[in-house]
Structure formats: structure tokens, C-alpha cells
């Protein structure tokens, strides 16, 4: 729990920092000046590392096509400018800044120009003060603003990314809640997966036919979630097999997975009180070579014509080879993997396929493994959040545009945007 608190403390500090830094481009007119261009202001560019200055001045009727502005900067010596600092008078407005409403006022009727100082002054040093002014040119009409001074400084929080941070905090809170709950007795609720019923049916059929059952955990190592889920399902299958007294064969790719599976199957037989019929050669090693493994398992399936094949775990290209042979020998096939690229093949040649997270869910349902359970719960929370956001967001957005509620539309669009 200490870690939770520490995390909150850090986030709290971040929030405190950003509150102090929220920025608005506020042009402050200097009444003492006589020049035509009034309201020119320079200040530190918010949400950056401290190398840029933000210049603002009101936009107005003088911003006609053909007119242009030129921004000049000085570190005390000669005035400097650059190509991107000369621009048509109707461009570079506050509305052009890609910043959200909580960090920037895009509706301000003002020009806003961000000046990157290291580009202009090679000897730029953090903390130095710089002078700025802007010139207006329209044919023969020219005007100049008073000088304004500003020193760029580093900012502690990028307020524009607040939406991201809020979501992160939310996910973190839900995460710690689920972890602490998953470890309690009984764990979290996860619905039964329809695919698990298909397992009963397949084993029942194998018993009737008196043929063996093949179960492959794929080519993943023991650290992979699909393999962990697969061993949980293997345990369930082994229990059924033990009680029906059918034959189970588990060919292996990885020796470590094999050791774990031996324990799992033995445990299942013990639980069903059928230790006498447990055989140590149920799990056997085939080859640690992707295609040789597939070829050897193919050969076995072809010879022994099992009643049911299970391909559950981490599979790559060998999925094609395995599922095809089972289908031609007429076995009931149940597959499950989180490898998207292999799912189409399993789906077309197997009777039931556990798709991606469904495999995790089946594993979590059977094993009550707190780590898989908690991940699954956070994912569910995230999905609920996304569903509500999409449904609500699209309706509000449509209503907002339809009835021309500009602020609502802007707010919704900017909340679901990354900056």
C-alpha cells in the first residue's frame, strides 16, 4: 500500500505544479506608447522546456490580405529576424495553436507567435532577458510596436497533456483496487466462457469413441500469458479426462512448459482420485524446432486419429499445419490463441476458437490466478470507459453541431485528443 500512496503523492505534486502555470495569452496594452500597434506583449511560452517566448498582440481590421507582420528580437545587440517570423497579417492567430481549451484560449482575438530563441541566438542561455518588437507593413503604411521584454523559463507541467494524466491516474487507481481484491479469497467475478462448454462436449465424444485426445500448448515459454492460461485449461481438461478414463496426449515444444504441465496433469488426476490411471508419458517432449514440432505432431495426429485436438496457447505459423491435419482426420478441434495473425486459420478449421482475451478470461476463470484476473478487470474497466465515451461522445458531438453549441463541440473534441 505504501507504493500506492507514494504514487498519489507524486501525482498530487504534479497537479500543484500545473495549477500555478496555467496560461492565457493575455495581451496587456501599454497605454504610455504612442505607436499605432498597441497591446503588444511578450512572455514565456508556456508548457515548454524554456527556449521559446510567446508574443501576442490583438488582431483587427488592419489584418487585410497583402499586409504582413515582421517580428524582431534582440539580446541587447542588433535586431534579429528569420523567414518564419515574417508572415501575412491574417495568419498566426491564437486560434491556430493546437492546444486544448483548459490550457489555452483559442477564441482570443489576437495574434500569437512562438519565437524559438536558440534558432535566432546561437549563444542562447537560459535565464537571459530578450527584447522583442513587431512591425506592420501594408504597402506604404507601416507601424511598429513598442519593445517588450521577456525571459523564457522552463515549465514544470505540460498542461495540454492533462487529459492523458487524468486517464493514467484513473487506470492506476483501478489497477491497485483490482490487485488488492484479486488476492482476496474468491477473487473477482469473471463470467463463464462459452468455449469451455465445448471442451466437455469434445471429451465426451472422445470417451464414446474410445480414441485419444491431443492437447498442444503451443510454442510459447512459461512466461507468456497465453501459455499460463493454457496450463489452466489443460488442468480442466485433465480432470475431465481422468474422470471419464480417456487417454490424453500432450506433445511439448518447451521442456520447462513440459515440467509444469506434468505437475498440472498429475494434480488433476489426484484431485479426481484417479492417481492409479495417471501415466507419466502423457506429457512428452517432441522438438524445440518450430516446424519439426509441427511435422511430428502432424504425423501423430494422422496415425492415431484422435477424437479431439486442443491447440491452446501461443502459436505462430505452425497453426496452419496443425489445424489442417486435425480437420482432415475428423477430430473435434478447439483452439485458442492471442496471436491475431493466426486466428483466421484457427477459426476456419476448428470447431471452437477462443479469441485473444477470451483465452485469458478462460484461464482466469479456471485458475483464479490473481495476476491474470486483475489485468482482465482493468481491461474491462477500460473497455467500459471507451464504450461510454464513444456512445456519449458521438451523441453529444452530433447534438452539439446540430444545435450549434460551439463550446460543447470544442470541449468534447479536445478532451479526446492527444497533445
Amino acid at each position: 500500500m505504501l507504493k500506492t500512496r507514494l504514487n498519489f503523492a507524486i501525482i498530487a505534486v504534479l497537479f500543484a505544479a500545473q495549477a500555478a502555470l496555467a496560461a492565457t495569452p493575455a495581451p496587456k496594452a501599454d497605454a504610455a506608447q504612442k505607436q499605432e500597434l498597441s497591446g503588444f506583449a511578450a512572455k514565456d511560452m508556456p508548457y515548454d522546456k524554456g527556449e521559446a517566448v510567446l508574443l501576442t498582440w490583438p488582431s483587427g481590421p488592419a489584418d487585410v490580405p497583402g499586409a504582413s507582420y515582421q517580428v524582431l528580437a534582440s539580446s541587447g545587440g542588433a535586431w534579429q529576424t528569420a523567414a518564419e517570423l515574417q508572415f501575412p497579417a491574417d495568419t498566426k492567430l491564437a486560434a491556430d495553436f493546437e492546444l486544448p481549451f483548459w490550457a489555452w484560449d483559442r477564441r482570443a482575438q489576437a495574434h500569437a507567435v512562438q519565437v524559438e530563441l536558440p534558432g535566432l541566438f546561437p549563444d542562447f542561455k537560459l535565464g537571459d532577458e530578450y527584447k522583442f518588437k513587431v512591425k506592420y507593413v501594408n504597402g506604404k503604411v507601416t507601424a511598429e510596436s513598442p519593445e517588450a521584454q521577456a525571459a523564457p523559463r522552463p515549465n514544470l507541467f505540460n498542461l495540454a497533456r492533462l487529459n492523458n494524466l487524468v486517464l493514467l491516474v484513473l487506470i492506476t487507481v483501478v489497477f491497485f483496487w483490482t490487485v488488492s481484491h484479486a488476492k482476496r479469497k474468491g477473487g473477482l467475478f469473471i463470467r463463464r466462457i462459452a468455449g469451455l462448454d465445448a471442451i466437455d462436449e469434445a471429451i465426451g465424444r472422445a470417451t464414446e469413441m474410445g480414441r485419444p485426445i491431443f492437447y498442444s500448448t503451443g510454442i510459447g515459454g512459461m512466461s507468456g500469458v497465453p501459455t499460463i492460461a493454457s496450463t489452466a485449461i489443460l488442468s480442466e481438461v485433465a480432470k475431465k479426462v481422468a474422470s471419464y478414463d480417456t487417454q490424453l496426449k500432450v506433445p511439448h515444444y518447451d521442456p520447462i512448459v513440459m515440467t509444469v504441465c506434468k505437475e498440472v496433469v498429475k494434480q488433476a488426476y489426484t484431485e479426481m482420485e484417479r492417481q492409479d490411471s495417471y501415466r507419466d508419458d502423457t506429457n512428452f517432449f517432441v522438438s524445440q524446432d518450430q516446424f519439426s514440432y509441427a511435422a511430428a505432431v502432424d504425423g501423430m495426429i494422422h496415425r492415431e486419429k484422435p477424437a479431439a485436438c486442443f491447440f491452446i496457447g501461443y502459436f505462430m505459423a505452425e497453426s496452419l499445419l496443425l489445424a489442417e491435419v486435425g480437420a482432415t482426420t475428423g477430430a473435434i478441434q478447439i483452439a485458442g490463441t492471442d496471436q491475431e495473425s493466426q486466428l483466421p486459420f484457427f477459426f476456419t478449421s476448428c470447431d471452437y476458437t477462443l479469441i485473444g482475451e477470451e483465452l485469458y478470461a478462460a484461464g482466469a476463470y479456471l485458475s483464479k490466478e490473481p495476476m491474470i484476473q486483475s489485468t482482465l478487470k482493468v481491461q474491462d474497466f477500460g473497455k467500459a470507459f471507451v464504450m461510454v465515451s464513444v456512445a456519449g461522445g458521438s451523441l453529444l458531438l452530433m447534438a452539439g453541431t446540430w444545435f450549434k453549441w460551439e463550446p460543447l463541440v470544442t470541449a468534447i473534441r479536445q478532451i479526446f485528443k492527444a497533445y
Partner: protein, 244 residues
Amino acid sequence: MSETMMIFGGWVAAGLTIFLFSFLYKDNPFFKIAEHLYLGAGMGWVFQTMLFQTWIPKVWEPLRAGDYYVLIPSLLGLTLVTQFFPKISWVSRYGFTFIMGYGSGLVIPLTISTDLMKQIGGTISPFMVSEITRGNATSLLNAAIVAIGFICVLFYFFFSVEHKGVIKKASNVGIYFLMLYFGAAFGNTVMGRFSLLYGRFDDLYKYSGERFHYATFVILGAMVLYFIVDHFRTRKPAVEEEAA
């Protein structure tokens, strides 16, 4: 590079390609040799790339120039190797923690923005319409299909409630969207795999020419001969092994 080496190369390339293809008939020693060569050559290639494009310019040369800072990441990197020696394998944790902590810290906010925020934003933004006209009716309909399909797929992968009533219906719709995606992916996969095969056949065709002294045909013939001999040598009466 002399012409002889080119021709020899053609023979090697054609031979290895055919060895790997021979797996289609049956698992055999030639396939296994080529496969193991592939593992080794792949590692060898990466190793020499690392050596000449990373280790020498990024570690060796700076060290010689007196920049000893590169020692820190190099030593941390080298700790990873202690994993292979059980007694001191804990040292590798120091390297791993840096890699894992850094990778995890980087990925979290980026996933939130790229895969959560932007995807929600992308789903809802087409709904910004002020009127339904003939022009935007189709795009609006498509946007609605995307949004509804998206929500239904999420229902399919929602495990915290029993699938009954409306939720069951929604998740049933969701699975059809998944099927359309998998179907399209399947179609594209077919195209991808054929492209690769075409590439290999194209090469084999090149090596079957006179310039390479008909390498493809000769090796192909030799392989067929091998399989015939092998068939009679190891003839088993009862079980016919399934071609893998």
C-alpha cells in the same frame, strides 16, 4: 567478384532454397541442415552488424578517444550476460531493471494517447454534422457502423457481466465484425504469402538458366533421386506418414 563466385553463389542459393522446400514432401536431413544454417547465419549477420555499426563506433571508438561515460551503459549491458551463470545471475537484474523501467515508463502515456484517446476521438469525430444531406448520408452511416461495431466488439470481450439479453445480442453483433476483420486479414495473408513464394520462384528461375549451368534443375533432380532411394531404403509396411 569473379563470375565463378557468382555461379557458385547461384548454386548455393538454389540448393538451400530447394532444401527448405523439400520439407513440403517430408521432413528430411537436407531441410534440417538448411534450417540450422539459417539460424546460425541469421545470428551471424546480426552479430556482424552490431559489431561494425554499433559496438565499434559507439563503444570502442569513444573509449579510445577518452569518453569513459560509455562504460556505464556498456557494463550495465554486459551484466545481462551473467544470466547464464546461475551463481551470479542476480547481477543481470541491474541491467534488466534499467531496460524494463525505461521501456515501461515510456510506453504508458504513449499508449494512452495513441491507442485510447486518438481511437475514441477518431470514432466520434465523423459525427460532427449540422444537417443530413445526400452527400454526407453515406459517410454518416459508415461512421455509425464503425461506432456501433466498435462498441459491440468491446461487449464481446467484456468479461465482468454474464452475457444475457441485450448484452448477448450486442456481443453477437460484435463477433460478426471480428469475422469481417479476420476474413479480410485472411484474404490479405493469402496475398502476402504468395508474394513471398513468387519471390523465391523468381530467383529459382534465374538460377535455372544457362549462366548458372542449370543449377535449379540439377539440384531438384538430385533431391528427387534422394527421396526415391530413401523411400525404398526405409520402406515401412503399415503406416504412411503424413507429409508435414
